[in-house]
Subunit: 311 residues, 4 copies
């Protein structure tokens, strides 16, 4: 059984369906979806981690990492933010007088609405899925919902117009979260997520973290300073790095961070949704690490085995 940040009919639900059609349970908050993983009620939960429409990013990053029982990311899913104008079957464009949606969704299709339906009244609802549900019930008096395609399917609506967002490039990113355990196998286009807590509010803290990564040849996909919420002015860094924990450069960088930081939370290595291979700088491949070890053993025979020694 898998969980997700609901309700049904949202983009998270739509992302979940890209992972297959098994049974799934919706949770009203990201925190509850993640707690259900911790308690064992579900084997994994899908939650948004970068999503300008439905929120949840901050909650997800913090709730994954801050607690005593961190979880682990097993997979990421990225889907475009794409809104449809959905109606009860039979409704035509000219019938549309009252539209319902979430305010953020309305904001994203404002240009399209101004051009296509300038006279329609727009009413707010707490989720786009709830808007679809309201339209499905003719007694509510709404003619159309701006919602995800999955919500239309769920509530038996028809799409009159697809992909009506003013910005066509917006995308949302979701992660499938499990209990800690072995990471998925290295694919060659992996990402590793971690949170590093500094020992104190050091001016050069982030520089030191970045040098631990750079000196091993590990590039970053994302970095964000975040307050730790314990002491004012105390902060940590949420980082997505290129590569897999079983890449020599990533393993060594993680250990380097562990040595110099107050705490490092490893949130998993997993394939990138975009399949983009990392740019490994000079000297950063596993074979470079192996060659360095071979050399060191030759010039200094007393050095024992290393983790990236696959001979």
């Amino acid at each position: 059984m898998r969980g997700f940040f609901g309700p049904e009919g949202t983009f998270t639900h739509q992302a979940l369906l890209t992972l297959g059609n098994g049974p799934a349970v919706a949770f009203p908050t990201v925190a509850r979806a993640l707690d259900a993983v911790r308690s064992g009620d579900v084997s994994a939960s899908l939650v948004p981690i970068e999503n300008s429409i439905e929120g949840g990013v901050t909650a997800t990053l913090d709730y994954l990492a801050l607690l005593d029982s961190p979880l682990q990311i097993a997979k990421e899913v990225v889907i475009p933010v794409s809104f449809d104008l959905c109606v009860r079957p039979g409704t035509t464009f000219n019938d549309i007088k009252r539209i319902i949606s979430h305010p953020h969704a309305v904001a994203q299709v404002r240009g399209w609405l101004d051009a296509q339906l300038p006279d329609a009244v727009v009413v707010e609802r707490g989720s786009t899925a709830g808007a679809a549900q309201a339209v499905a019930d003719p007694t509510t008096g709404y003619d159309a919902a701006i919602c995800a395609k999955v919500a239309a399917d769920l509530y038996g609506l028809a799409s009159l117009a697809s992909n009506i967002s003013d910005n066509e490039q917006a995308a949302t990113r979701f992660v499938l979260v499990t209990k800690p355990g072995p990471s998925p196998k290295r694919t060659g286009y992996d990402k590793t997520t971690l949170v590093a807590y500094m020992r104190q509010d050091q001016p050069g803290a982030l520089l030191e973290i970045l040098q631990q990564l750079a000196s091993r040849g590990v590039n970053l996909c994302r970095v964000e300073s975040r307050p730790t919420k314990k002491i004012l002015g105390d902060y940590c860094f949420s980082i997505d790095a290129e590569g897999h924990v079983s890449d020599a450069r990533v393993a060594e960088a993680l250990m380097g961070l562990h040595r110099v930081c107050k705490r490092v939370v490893f949130l998993g290595s997993y394939p990138r949704a975009d399949g983009k291979e990392p740019k490994v700088p000079y000297g950063g491949r596993d074979s470079d690490y192996q060659a360095a070890l071979d050399w060191l053993r030759q010039v200094s025979p007393e050095i024992p085995r290393l983790p990236y020694d696959r001979t």
Copy 2:
């Protein structure tokens, strides 16, 4: 006339009131609130920039900086995220059967609700202000709203319970945005916001940016990598740095960034809401810059005037 990201009765509205009681106009989106500054319809707009409840952060950061006409931050306001349980005057605790609020607000008071009102039905609405408005109308059938205090005042509701958030430390940050112009005077506890675009997707890009700041003694309050939305994998860095553009260290660091980056967008120097003074490292005060200049002039008489030369 000032603008703000509305509707009335939200936390942004509440933050606006801390700036005085002049006339103000609500805008339905951050983008519209900012466009009104650009067009001159309002002299300034207050918009959220770090706000886990009402969103808007991402939109604000991007819409401030990405366009051809960047705006400037003149002031920041931080207020605690504090929800009240608000009712029509006369309603008592025992009368409460149906509660209405925004789903994110509900998520933040879930623990309190489970303990105090376990049997109440909770209904969602697109904003906490809209929830208060609904409660004000007895015909809607809602007994209580979870909303900001300002919304209760606006719609004539009474607060039955204050500050009911499960996490008492959540805060939201807002910025008052104006057209570009001279920054507010240096106070000694200032912050400078900027966006730096790298020349290309360089692995060491962030390190280079941080070294431009660190070598001048400028500390960071916040750093975030953000996609530029033009090319996939292209990103920029959104940064809050300690200090004011008229501090020698900040001026020199900004020029350093301008030299090594593709583009730097200066979003203003302004007093910190928390009044916290910067930790200036050894050699980072204006007097250190002046002493360095005096020394250089002495050993090399041909060097002309410098910006931090106040003699």
Copy 3:
């Protein structure tokens, strides 16, 4: 009147002659040659600064910088280390039974001697010039000297074989030292010499120094850690950097060093003997500094004049 590290007939003397034929006085040590500049007895002195044959490097670096009255480098001269086999006129190759030279010179021509004059007896003398002088006097019993060409000329010897060093690429570097004053004009292929003293024996001291230089786009030609001789384990860094003090990047880097170091000794900007132009990294030209200033003034009108502002 110019001074030089003597005696006459050494490579330093030979280097001096490349600067013209004015009157010159030889000093027995580098320290005395430099003290004569300080006292005003000579206007300038030529001393070796990188010279594996006659020593003096360490003495020069330290004696230029460590004292309360640092001096300044006005020019550098580089000449190849080239030994000749010199004899009294009339002596032929087959006459050579006894050779005299300085031990270091003998070491540098050992291969040539073993091949050409395997049976000659080699006697040591304290300088190659002294060896030439001894050969000039037939009563000393020496047939040949291994010395610089200038020594042969000085003592009326003839060269039987030129450039007999085993390593043909050895070169020595000399500097013409004056009292502090304006540096020679920028040529576009200049070098700046300085000594930076750290505030304490900091592990990252050199890194901090290099970042002050790198963040302004200044490259290094030479760097050497050197004990300060005051406290055991206390050290300073002797540095040759590319560029002239009137280059914006060098001026700013020098001031940055002055801010973060305990002490910086500026030893002059002067043309490189090899005429090699610096590799100026992205953003490091004067025009980049000017553009950065223009930009900063535009976004923040209160910034006053800068040293590299030539408009």
Copy 4:
């Protein structure tokens, strides 16, 4: 059989005697002393590596590292530069009319001579040992030599005045060089010498090298840029680092250098003559490396053995 850079009676000889009284052979140049190690003619040779009096530093650094068969440092010896005024037994202070010594030695005792023997004639010789030898022979006409104590002993001279150097803090450093092999055991106050060749004349080359060391917590004792003598402008870095190759931080740093450099020459780990323990920064001890590995294995069970894993 051990070799040393001779002749007998020099400071190198004196340093050799601190290592015990076994049979030893003097070589006329550092290169020959080192070649004898390579050929197996001697098991080890003692050569100066930091010595302002007798030269040899540059030759030693280069000849140890540049060739195809690098050697290894097994031990370092530091002795103070201390000159004595030595005479044939029976000679008194008032008898001294003619003094002989190496010019560099004369330079170092000039102040003492001016004060004590202002009227004595000073004659130069190619080595201080040769000067002592000359004084031992009454027919040469010299009354006193300025030389090392060991030279006086060797040639049967008596010391009339000890430690007459103007600068009492000068010291010379020697290294005992062997064929490559296992390093001496870690003592806790060790030093590691290496030469790093950059991939090209990169502006940030030294910064990159230092970051490889700093990110592992390895401090430097000495760093020097040196021309490689192959291509003009091509250089390498000669480095003494704190710690032993079997310290986890040093092993990892050496491998890091090997990955990013064109070539790294390991010249040995050996006890420091001064017995000074390294300042190991936060996270740099072996136990920190072990803890980092334990942590990584716990969060990512697939990581195999590491060299510093002593469990």
